[in-house]
Structure formats: C-alpha cells, structure tokens
Amino acid sequence: MRRLGGICLLAVGALSVLLGAVLAVAFGPDDRLATGPHVVRSETSLITTGPQAIALAGPRVELAVTSSGEPRNLFVGVGHHVDVSDLLGETPRTRVDRIDLPWALTTSQVGTGGTPRASPLDVQWWYAQAEGDGRAVLTWTLPEYGGDVVIADLDGGDELSVDVTAAVLAPGAFVVGAAMVVIGLGVAVFGWAVLTTRVRPRGVHANRGEPTEGGAK
C-alpha cells in the first residue's frame, strides 16, 4: 500500500513538474503564447480576414502588425463581418479565408473595384482598433460570433506587406507554471521519500506475529 501511494505521489509530482514547465516555457515571463512574425502581403493597401477565418472563440489574443520596409500608416481593427463587409464593399483586397495553426494562411483576392464608404477611423463599431506609424498592436477577446480583422494603410497606396505576430494572452500563466513546477517537485520528492524510506513499524499490527508477554504495547 505504501509502495502504491509513493508511486502515485511521484507520478502526480512528475506530471505537475512537466505541465508547469511546459506552461512556463510556452508563455514565458510575458505570459504570451505567440506565433510569428509571419509575412502577409496584398497587392492593395488592404488585408482582411473572412467571416470563417477565425474559427475559435474564448481566449484573449494580441495581433502585432509591423509594416515591412518603409513604415506605413497602419490601422488594425476587428469588427463584425456585417459591418466590415458593408464598410469595405467591393474595395479590392487580400482576404485571409482560413488560418491553420500554428501558422498557414489560405488567401484570395476579392473586390471588383471601389473604395470604402468611410475611413476606418470614422466608425465606432470596432471591437478593438489600433493605429501606428509602421506598427500597430491590437488586443481583443475572441467572441462567439467571430469578427473580421482589417489591416489597412490609412494613406492608401498598394503593395502592403506586413509582419504579423499573433499571440494568446494568459495573465499569470508563467507564475502558475513555475508554481506547478515547485509544488510538483515537492510532491515528487515526498513520493520518492514514501517509496524509499523505511519507517519503523509501531502499534498493534507491528507486533503481529511477535507476541510478547503482556500483549501488545
């Protein structure tokens, strides 16, 4: 029984150390699980995601977009597909139709011609938006009903090329991982001790088979 308990404690401790280490290493001290940078290019000044591209909901994510080469006047926003498609209409753009993680994009060229109804800065329905000269960082929680990401050069032009880094944010993940490692080590050491340390038998059962005069002590 002692042996089984010791093995269990050792196994739980080792698993905790392993998962904690994976968690701490994966997220790092900045609590981010990131992929990138990946280059995304468009013949125009506009890159969007389609309504089915972001198939997941739940975690908080960050999208860091940096223009390749000369700094561009970047806008990055995420809004409901109905709003985004109405705003952009038939504006020519590169659309990301599918994202396979860790990172593979399926894109298509859409839009027969035209311009957006308004500047992305003139509407208030973005879930989140960011702008920057050469770099913009967007953070939002993936909603149940999706969302289209828009990357645009506010000054127009063509041949927009950007480096995109996507990350899942989990505040405290590194600390939790480190704590799991420490606690797991403790449990494993205790398990090892239970498994290997001989404890001097005491009590009624300890005397079984060695009757002494006067009975058990």
């Binding site: 997941l56 909901a57 975690p59 597909h81 985004v84 009903y145 405290g172």
Partner: protein, 320 residues
C-alpha cells in the same frame, strides 16, 4: 490531421492551466448580427435626448436632423414650424426618453438595419415605441418612428431567439397572419379614408379612427367649403413576430386634407394654429394640408388587427 492532435491537446491544456478561456469552436453566426443591444440603445437614447432638448429649446429642425429622419423628422420639424409661426410653445410636445423598457432588435445580414425600443417619455408623459435605423455601416443611427402607445400600455410579447434577436416579418409576409404587415397598413389607410369601407371590419375599434371620422364629418358640414380627405400607406419596413403568433407592425400614413372654398367665401383658419402656420392669411380658392401619421399595430393570426398607438402631425400646407 492526426499529427495535429497532440499539439492541439497540449495547447488546450496549457491554456486551461494558464487561467485562459479555453479556445473552442465558435457557436455564434458570423454572417449576421443583432442590430443593436440594449446598452447601445440606451446610448442612442441619451444622444437623442441631448439633441432633442436643444432642438425643443431653440425650435431648430437642423438640430433634429442629427438624430431623426424620414416621416418622424417631417412631423417634429412641422411642429417646430408651427410653434415658430404661431409663437406658441404648445405646438411642440417636449420629448425626453427616460426609461428603456424593451428593445426589439432583429438579426440582419446586411444594412440597412433597425432596432425598436419601448420607452417612457417623461417629457410628454406618454410611452412610445421608437425605431432607430442605420442606413449603412458608416451612417449614424437616426430615429425614424415614434408612435405613442394608447394609455401608456405595454407591448405584446415579441418572439426572440437565443441570441435575443427579434424575428423579422417581411412586409408582404402573410404566413400565419390574418393579413401581411403591408396589407394591414394599406387596409387601415382605406378604413381611415372611408367610413363605409369593408376594411373597417378588419380592425378593432380605436379612438384614432373614430376621432378622425368625427373630424371629417365636422369638416364636411362646413358651408363655405367642400372637404375631402385621403389616406395613403407608405411601404412597411418594421415588423416582427409576436409570441401569440401575430405580428407587431410600425407603419406610416400620409393624410391629405383638401378644402375647396365656395365662391365669395374664404377660410382664415381661426383656432387652427397648424393650418394657420402653413397657410397664413385667407384662402379664397383651395387649400391642402398634408399630415404624416405613424401607427403601431398588432396583427393577430386570425381576426381583427388592433391599433396600439400613433403619432403624427401636419407637415406641409399649400393654398391659394
């Protein structure tokens, strides 16, 4: 695909351990949206109240244009015009929408989209069903309708899906209804135009229709002018399904009152501030006053439709 499983499982485990919401397949529909949620409607009401307060103080329709459009703007701008011309503050009914009681927002796959809201109007002491519409994604939400409910009553229960979206009924959709929304508003216009029309039997009795019948009768007894009145329905844009199987409909009607003055007579509109504002002085030959009215009605699955409320006023006048 099989090779991705361990990585996906590990990623989920790592995220769960990290205190992060577990990533999961989306359950919502990405290609349609509920027009507006209660929080957004509350914000719209605040903006409306601020503009309306200023507009009511200054009697300036250009302020109203920032928050209203369509027939409702015609009606309220008409009231400002009458008030300015007559110098009477009574022509303008102060509006302050305080309590948001219910929102009715259908799901849309494209613009334009609209949202209805039942609100208490503490300015006039009434309850109104207001409708905001947004023509496109870069346009502002503007109020397009605001019928007042008779006796401050409530709305019949509106069907809503799991996401809180009302079930939009097409204007011509008569499925499981005594008549389609457009048919109902057309029929109501005919019932208002002609007391002998067969459409009278398609509606329960209401004060608005009986009041109009009394007014028309009184005008037709004028000895110095002949009077005729015509009602026309506008295309219906706002209708939703009710839990009792019926439909809630907001419709707009245009009313045209025409007077033909007898030879050697005139009309000077004493006691009629609205007509006097649009037709100052005396009318010797003919006069025409145009009104807009917005009606809120409930159409049952079977039986007679019922008027729940209305709001209207004079919007134009011409005469000679």
């Amino acid at each position: 695909m099989r090779r991705r499983w361990p990585a996906a499982a590990l990623a989920c485990l790592v995220l769960a351990l990290g205190g992060c919401s577990l990533p999961h397949a989306r359950t919502g529909d990405a290609t349609s949206k509920v027009s507006a949620r209660p929080a957004e409607v509350s914000s719209l009401l605040d903006s409306y109240n601020a503009a309306r307060r200023r507009g009511d103080d200054e009697r300036d329709p250009s302020i109203l244009r920032r928050v209203e459009t369509g027939p409702l703007l015609d009606i309220d701008a008409g009231a400002y015009f009458v008030s300015a011309r007559s110098g009477s503050a009574e022509a303008v009914q102060p509006v302050q929408l305080a309590g948001l009681l219910t929102t009715v927002g259908p799901r849309f796959t494209r613009y334009p989209m609209w949202v209805g809201a039942l609100v208490d109007d503490v300015g006039s002491g009434t309850r109104r069903f207001v409708v905001f519409e947004r023509r496109h994604s870069a346009a502002p939400w503007l109020m397009t309708a605001g019928p007042e409910l008779a006796g401050g009553s409530g709305l019949p229960a509106v069907v809503k899906d799991e996401g809180g979206a009302a079930d939009h009924v097409p204007a011509a959709g008569a499925e499981r209804l005594a008549m389609s929304p457009q048919e109902a508003v057309d029929a109501y216009a005919r019932a208002l135009s002609d007391p002998a029309a067969v459409e009278q039997d398609r509606f329960e009795q209401d004060d608005f229709r009986s009041g109009n019948a009394d007014f028309r009768e009184a005008q037709q007894e004028l000895q110095y002018a002949s009077f005729s009145q015509r009602w026309e329905a506008h295309p219906v844009r706002y209708a939703v399904r009710l839990e009792d199987g019926g439909a809630l409909v907001v419709g707009t009607l245009t009313r045209t009152d025409t007077y033909r003055v007898q030879p050697e007579s005139f009309i000077d509109w004493e006691g009629n501030a609205a007509a006097k504002a649009y037709l100052p002085g005396r009318v010797f030959r003919s006069a025409q006053l145009t009104f807009r009215h917005q009606v809120l009605m409930a159409i049952p699955e079977r039986g007679k439709a019922r008027l729940l409320g209305q709001y209207g006023g004079v919007v134009d006048g011409r005469g000679s």
